[in-house]
């Protein structure tokens, strides 16, 4: 099982730029509100400076106090009001952008080429759909806005400091090199630590999950003690990961805090010295010092969100990576002239130099039933995937009529061939939703007819809401046989002329499958059927049997021919069907 690609840094940047351009107007309005709020937030410290000046010159009167504190209160009210507007706007924008990103991601998942869908591990795609979407949610909704806001606040504060006294502001710069180097170092060393933390906690959850899901096996094989020790070991590993990042922070946090107070101390000393020499007023010295204290907060936020931004970037790269896989099937193509399936000199390899199929040739005429049998790993399923048009052969050709299956537009391919596997996923949604995906414009009558064909009408009509009954993980639970019947009903609706059955009923208990056979028979009626068989009774009923051994067709013929041949198939058949029981 392979992994999907991850987008490169430049692709992520380009995507981010596109997003920024798309939402430029709203973004700028939000940032202007934040800038206004930040500017108003600087008024109180300035007023305190004014009061200090007045006091120093013994000019502080009751009227002046009322005026100054009135200004202070008005500024506070304006600050709260403006931050409310700005924050509300930024949350709304964050929700909008995040919704756009997740919808684009799901669209790219749903556009993945068939071959990629078959090849990719579900785990990889699932973790992108859950973990990365979660991580991106935090980044887009909180980290990016908070970070931008902090930058705006810091910039505005710097401007204000320069306006009050450029000379006095200089001292604040002492903290910059300390902050820069300690943060750069921290980010470089801490990031792998956080990755390790997340992985180790996921491993811990995984151990608990497999232990509780496998409770029965744990009990039967007395594995409780061992699983307990493993949980302890996972906890220990997470502890070490936590200790590592803690150590990183134990260097970084104090450095940052020291840098901040160093900036306050030097600014106070320097501006106080300037005030003592009457270069600036007492009030200006006070205000600049207060500003340095104030700027520490946005600076702190700027550097502490960097972590989260990096995580978000990684997730973005993984989400955008899915969109980089393009379907190379053409949108239009020629229409096949016949329904005959032709396999000609086909070889196929998953890994270079290791052919799973070797020079296989086969022709299946319309309406024929062909069973493919053979030991595990002989290449039966691979042959099935090629005939279903999911993948193209390395060498040779697989055609329906005169058209190459692998280069057929997907919508056209579906009208010709369908691959049916033992997977019978029931989607969250109504019975109707679950069926209509095969034929979106189907009427209820069509749906009911399809259900009737597979023997499922009776129990569907007995459901509380019939076609509108909610199914899936959160809805009404179906038995495996019912789920399989719905899957078969989908096929009736999709109505391809050829079906490739890959062990479609193998995992079901034979006693349940027996009932399903009738449903299956209804679906198969009038179609070309290529059945990859585990159980030999399927082979017995087929028009021809194809025995695949070691990537080659070893035997091909009718059941009776092959039994008479006395080869591989015959010996299997004899052992499967006890001589004494044969009644035909």
């Amino acid at each position: 099982m392979s992994q999907l690609p991850v987008a490169g840094a430049s692709e992520v940047r380009a995507h981010a730029m596109i997003l920024a351009r798309q939402h430029r107007g709203e973004g700028l309005r939000m940032l202007s509100l934040y800038a206004l709020a930040a500017a108003v937030a600087l008024v109180p410290a300035w007023i305190i400076g004014q009061i200090t000046n007045l006091a120093a010159h013994h000019q502080l009167t009751s009227a002046l106090i009322t005026r100054e504190v009135g200004g202070l209160l008005a500024a506070s009210l304006a600050y709260a009001g403006l931050s409310f507007l700005a924050r509300r706007r930024s949350y709304i924008l964050g929700e909008k952008i995040f919704a756009q990103l997740r919808e684009e991601f799901l669209a790219s998942v749903l556009a993945l080429p068939l071959v990629e869908v078959e090849r990719t591990s579900t785990g990889d795609l699932l973790s992108r759909t859950t973990n990365d979407i979660d991580a991106l949610s935090r980044t887009v909704r909180f980290a990016v806005p908070e970070w931008l806001v902090a930058i705006v606040q810091a910039l505005i504060t710097i401007v204000a400091m320069l306006l009050v006294s450029p000379l006095a502001s200089l001292a604040g710069l002492v903290s910059v090199p300390l902050l820069y180097f300690s943060t750069r170092r921290y980010l470089r060393f801490a990031r792998p630590g956080y990755v390790r933390e997340r992985i180790s906690y996921a491993t811990l959850s995984g151990t608990v999950a497999e232990t509780s899901e496998g409770a029965r096996t744990v009990d039967a094989h007395r594995l409780g003690r061992r699983q307990r020790d493993r949980i302890d070991a996972n906890v220990r590993e997470n502890f070490y990961a936590e200790m590592y990042t803690l150590l990183m922070r134990l260097v970084w946090f104090p450095t940052v805090e020291t840098a901040f107070s160093l900036a306050v101390a030097t600014t106070l000393a320097w501006s106080g010295w300037l005030a003592l020499h009457h270069s600036i007023s007492v009030g200006a010295a006070t205000t600049v010092t207060l500003y340095v204290v104030q700027i520490n907060d946005p600076l702190d936020r700027i550097i502490s969100w960097l972590d989260e931004l990096q995580i978000g970037q990684t997730s973005m790269a993984r989400l955008f990576g899915v969109a980089t896989v393009r379907d190379d099937r053409p949108a239009h193509g020629p229409t096949p002239t016949s329904e005959t399936i032709t396999v000609e000199h086909v070889s196929y390899a998953y890994r270079e130099g290791r052919d799973v199929l070797r020079d296989v040739s086969l022709s299946v005429r319309a309406g024929e039933r062909l069973a493919i049998v053979g030991p595990s790993g002989a290449g039966k399923s691979t042959l099935g995937r090629l005939i279903a048009g999911i993948d193209a052969p390395r060498v040779g050709s697989v055609r329906v009529g005169d058209v190459e299956l692998a280069s057929m537009p997907l919508a056209a391919l579906r009208r010709h061939v369908a691959l049916v596997t033992q997977e019978h996923h029931i989607f969250i949604g109504t019975v109707r939703d679950n069926l209509a995906l095969a034929q979106p414009d189907a009427t209820d009558e069509n749906l009911l007819r399809a259900l009737d064909a597979v023997d499922a009408l009776e129990w569907v009509q007995a459901l509380p809401e019939r076609l509108d009954t909610e199914l899936g993980t959160t809805g009404h639970a179906l038995t495996p046989a019912q789920a399989q019947q719905l899957a078969l009903a989908r096929l009736v609706l999709a109505d391809p002329h050829t079906l490739v059955l890959d062990e479609a009923t193998a995992l079901l208990d034979p006693r349940a499958a027996r009932h399903l056979e009738r449903s299956l028979a209804a679906v198969l009626a009038g179609r070309t059927v290529i059945a990859i068989a585990h159980r030999l009774h399927t082979a017995h009923d087929a028009d021809r049997v194809c025995v695949v051994v070691d990537g080659r067709i070893a035997e091909l013929g009718t059941h009776d021919e092959l039994v008479a041949l006395g080869g591989e198939y015959a010996s299997l058949w004899r052992s499967w069907r006890n001589e004494g029981a044969r009644d035909s």
């Binding site: 504190v69 964050g94 936590e242």
Partner: protein, 564 residues
């Protein structure tokens, strides 16, 4: 990892107090550091005020240096106490979270299937993945919460000593503000809960689409699913937009309310400065104190949220911990009677002798599982089952498991090195493992692995196919060399060729012991010494496969799929 001890599971509160008692030392230390850390932030303002009064306004450069130096010193104290506080807070987080993980882990591994019968596996995983960290977070922020209260009291005392009025305003004002913000929290929580729920549905839709992607891409319906996802995504977005107003209100409220306090303090302070009872620098300090107090205020609000979440989490953990194993040892377990010669189930009539292989054929899979549960003692009441003539229920559970091994219809593999997954107990030479893998026709599985027996099995063994997992689990069952082995549908997921090979080698593998296979496959049944046909919980016919094929219509119907 140290033993976590025995939790107090009378209630969520008891559980949290149990955790707290076990880490009271670090909680106290963290509280001291948190207080020092916050006070040094507050006292910074006293130093700024001092510098303004005694240095700048009074025209004494040496005083200015002194106060500026004091700020630097406070900065160092703040940095050091802050680092220690953080370290201790993380320690508190880890102790509470890890201890919870450990007690849950111990319980999960010890309670058999009783726990998973009651609580979905997802919830159990959640208690480790979500509840334990939440409980940890409450302990992480506990010290800051207490420190916030202490520093608020101390700042109030400082203000009281220079102005009764200002002191009282702060002493009463801060708790009043904390109470005033609570009405802002409720609509936010409601809106957030609605958004979480909508998000949960959206996430389920997303994972559902991925899980069924093969079908969607194979048969169609992408447009419908994308449309459904977009609709739900829009609902989540609108829920988020609804949460934006209370969220922004709470945050600007947290700015506004303290700002009013600051204005009041500044107003009164400025009048005292005008009267000459307060120095301008002191006013700067008071202004600073008032702005500082937003920090304790925020900590208190934060802790309230954390503590609520932890309480809910602890409730779930306690519920999980109170479910006990149903199959338990008798008061006085009997010693195991040596090698098992004979097992008899009086109720069904199944009897097993050492050195023979048996099969049981039932009309439904559920009946086979019920028989395996009974003979393997996975249900509390096994009356009528005897081992060498002694009642099965008289032995300890661990002795039973050691000598009677049940290989389920869906046996699980676990992550770890393949060699030790196949032989979890004791040691085994590789030849024996290879012999077992050969018996289950799984040497090809081994050949495909890069590191052979040293290969690491993925979580749940998911990198193997269903058939491969089944064969490996069967090999594991053989390798136990248990006196009695019960195999439920051991070859349901393998192809006919392989099934035939496994059936042929089974008797040889189990020559010395007793074996019962629940199966309906003729390939398997024809290799058995005796086949029991069970209907309605009773053996209705027994004999060889050939004998039953010849004599029983029911048997032919089940095994040969003959229509009656």
């Amino acid at each position: 990892m140290a033993d976590p001890g025995t939790p107090d599971i009378r209630s969520a509160r008891h559980y949290l107090f149990w955790l707290a008692r076990l880490q009271r030392g670090t909680i106290v230390a963290a509280t001291l550091c948190a207080t020092a850390w916050m006070l040094s932030q507050a006292l910074l303002w006293a130093a700024v005020g001092g510098a303004v009064d005694h240095g700048i306004a009074a025209g004494h450069p040496s005083q200015l240096w002194k106060w500026a130096g004091l700020i630097a010193l406070l900065g160092v104290i703040q940095a050091v106490s802050g680092a220690l506080r953080h370290q201790l807070a993380v320690t508190n987080w880890m102790r509470a979270a890890y201890r919870t993980v450990q007690v849950v882990g111990r319980h999960v591994t010890a309670s058999g299937t009783a726990l998973t019968d009651e609580i979905p596996s997802g919830d159990i995983v959640n208690s480790v993945g979500a509840d334990a960290p939440r409980i940890g977070m409450a302990f992480d922020s506990l010290a800051r919460f207490i420190g916030a209260i202490i520093s608020w009291l101390i700042v109030s005392a400082i203000l009281l000593s220079s102005s009764h009025l200002l002191g009282l305003i702060v002493l009463i004002g801060v708790p009043a503000l904390a109470v005033l913000t609570t009405p802002l929290m409720r609509p936010l929580h409601t809106a957030q809960a609605a958004q979480r729920e909508a998000t949960g549905r959206l996430a389920a839709l997303g994972t559902d689409t991925v899980a069924g992607l093969r079908i969607l891409r194979g048969i169609g319906g992408e447009e419908v699913f994308l449309r459904n996802y977009r609709v739900q995504s829009g609902l989540v977005r609108r829920a988020g937009v609804r949460a934006a107003v209370p969220q922004a209100a709470l945050e600007s409220g947290q700015l506004l309310l303290p700002a009013i306090l600051t204005s009041v303090v500044t107003f009164i302070g400025a009048h005292e400065v005008a009267r000459g009872t307060l120095q301008p620098g002191q006013l700067v300090a008071f202004f600073g104190y008032a702005t500082f107090l937003t920090t304790p205020l925020r900590e208190v609000i934060q802790y309230t949220i954390m503590a609520t979440r932890a309480y809910v989490g602890a409730g779930k953990v306690v519920r999980l911990l109170s479910i006990e194993a149903t199959v338990r040892d008798p008061a006085q377990p009997r010693d195991w009677p040596g090698r098992v010669e004979r097992v008899l189930d009086e109720r069904s009539g199944i009897h097993l002798e050492r050195g023979r292989v048996y099969a049981v054929v039932t009309e439904t899979p559920a009946e086979s599982s019920a028989l395996a549960d009974r003979l393997g003692r996975f249900i509390p009441n096994v009356e009528g089952v005897t081992v060498n003539g002694y009642a099965l229920g008289d032995f300890s559970v661990s002795d039973t498991r050691r000598h009677i091994v049940v290989n389920d219809i869906e046996p699980r593999l676990f992550s770890g090195e393949l060699r030790y997954e196949l032989v979890p107990h004791g040691t085994s030479v590789d030849e024996r493992i290879l012999a077992a893998l050969n018996a289950v026709s799984a040497l090809d599985v081994l050949d495909a692995l890069d590191d052979g027996l040293a290969t690491r099995v993925d979580e749940r063994g998911r990198s193997f196919s269903g058939g491969q997992r089944q064969r490996l689990a069967l090999a594991r069952a053989f390798l136990t060399e248990a006196d009695v082995l019960i195999l439920v549908e051991p070859t349901s997921a393998v192809d006919t060729h392989t099934e035939g090979r496994i059936a042929a080698r089974l008797g040889e593998m189990r020559r010395e012991h007793a074996t019962l296979v629940a199966s309906t496959s003729p390939l398997m049944l024809e290799r058995m010494d005796t086949v029991f046909l069970v209907s309605g919980g009773q053996v209705v016919a027994e004999g060889t496969h050939d004998h039953l094929v010849a004599s029983s219509a029911l048997y032919r119907q089940i095994v040969l799929r003959e229509d009656s």
